[in-house]
Point group: C2
Chain length 204, copies 2
DNA sequence: TTTACTTTTGACCCGTTGGTTAAACTTTAT
DNA sequence: ATAAAGTTTAACCAACGGGTCAAAAGTAAA
């Protein structure tokens, strides 16, 4: 039973994840989730009392998954340049496997800004920030970067990786018109973005 | 009457724009729009038969507004570097005045990908692309950029400008934790992003 | 002032949707 | 075997939400 339990609850959770990511909280229908899981709507409410609760469970899992993907950058013992290359390769591969995550996450974040604090409270951003900064203090000086420009640099790096998926529809449409394949474009991007950033921060 | 007509219809349109941008198509309620416009729900349907129709009107207007902001870059007679600086200043200022546009636009685009073709069909992307490329053929050669890397470069530029607003919630939250103001961050970004890109494409 | 027309409204309709309930069915423990 | 506990279902409910309608209010021309 604990067996079957897990199975049913997990089936529900996976179905919910799929539907919520595709349609968003507002667009998703409980009946749709139930059908996807191959069960009754009442059973859905038996495992997750309300739509809100179910959504929260899914969203938190997605948030954890996303944040986890940023962590290695702080741990790996690599030079700054190597870290940048490492990040784009790893992160873009992750997004290739989960192409709808950025749009879903960003949208739900905007829909309900109060989540931000909750998610951010779980991570000591400032600590990580300082850690990264002190790890590469020497290099950064070499690159002519101050502590002040760190937010600009880091958001730029994330932007270059995430944006193509957040705006996938339009980008795919534009690329298509010029005979370029999106997957190929992303593959190229893994190295392009890294070299782009490295060159941008290098001394002339 | 034609006077009052315009007034009412315009009030409705503006109210609809506000509500749709804030809540999205799925989250918006006709009653909410009516209240915002200070009118009856029936009157709403008198001017715009259905929710879909009203939404389409709003969305098309937003799309035009956004696309219009990209056009000048192709027309201005400036060097590539000047164009890059011009773009970031102009575009980020535009987004400061319309901070919710990116999230709304991207989300609705993902929700209904068929819009993409319709919007893209209105613009000769490939022509503009070539125009931009031929305008700066000499410089690009100088910068060591080929025609192949143009998509990577252009999407990167857009990403650096749009992403901070598409992910505003999170970025604002992170910045806040380190005592940085979002508006200040954007102000800094106008020059940072431009210099970042210019340096990235410059020869060593 | 009457007539013809447009604009605005309150009341109503009805399909959808999140959520409930009571009973049937399974499993586990005694 | 049987009682107790957990699991699953069909049927149901209330309210929400887009959309309609007929009548009232306003406007302009004859």
């Amino acid at each position: 039973m604990a067996e079957n339990d897990k199975q049913t609850e997990e089936r529900i959770f996976e179905a919910a994840t799929d539907v919520f990511i595709e349609k968003g909280m507002d667009g998703a229908r409980m009946q749709d989730i139930a059908s996807h899981a191959g069960i009754n709507k009442a059973l859905l409410h038996y495992y997750f009392r309300t739509k809100e609760q179910l959504f929260n469970a899914v969203f938190e899992m997605v948030a954890r998954k996303i944040i986890k993907k940023f962590a290695p950058v702080f741990d790996e013992n690599l030079s700054l340049e190597a870290k940048i290359r490492f990040f784009f390769k790893e992160h873009l591969t992750f997004l290739q496997e989960n192409p709808r995550l950025p749009a879903f996450f960003l949208n739900e974040m905007n829909r309900n800004p109060s989540r931000i604090k909750k998610i951010l409270s779980g991570v000591d951003i400032d600590k990580l920030w300082l850690k990264l900064y002190s790890q590469h203090k020497e290099e950064l000086k070499n690159y002519n970067l101050t502590e002040e420009t760190m937010p600009q640099l880091l958001t730029s790096i994330v932007a270059l990786s995430v944006f193509p998926f957040a705006a996938r529809g339009i980008i795919e449409g534009v690329l298509e018109k010029m005979g370029i394949d999106f997957d190929k474009y992303i593959e190229t991007r893994k190295t392009f973005a890294a070299e782009f950033v490295i060159k941008a921060i290098s001394r002339p």
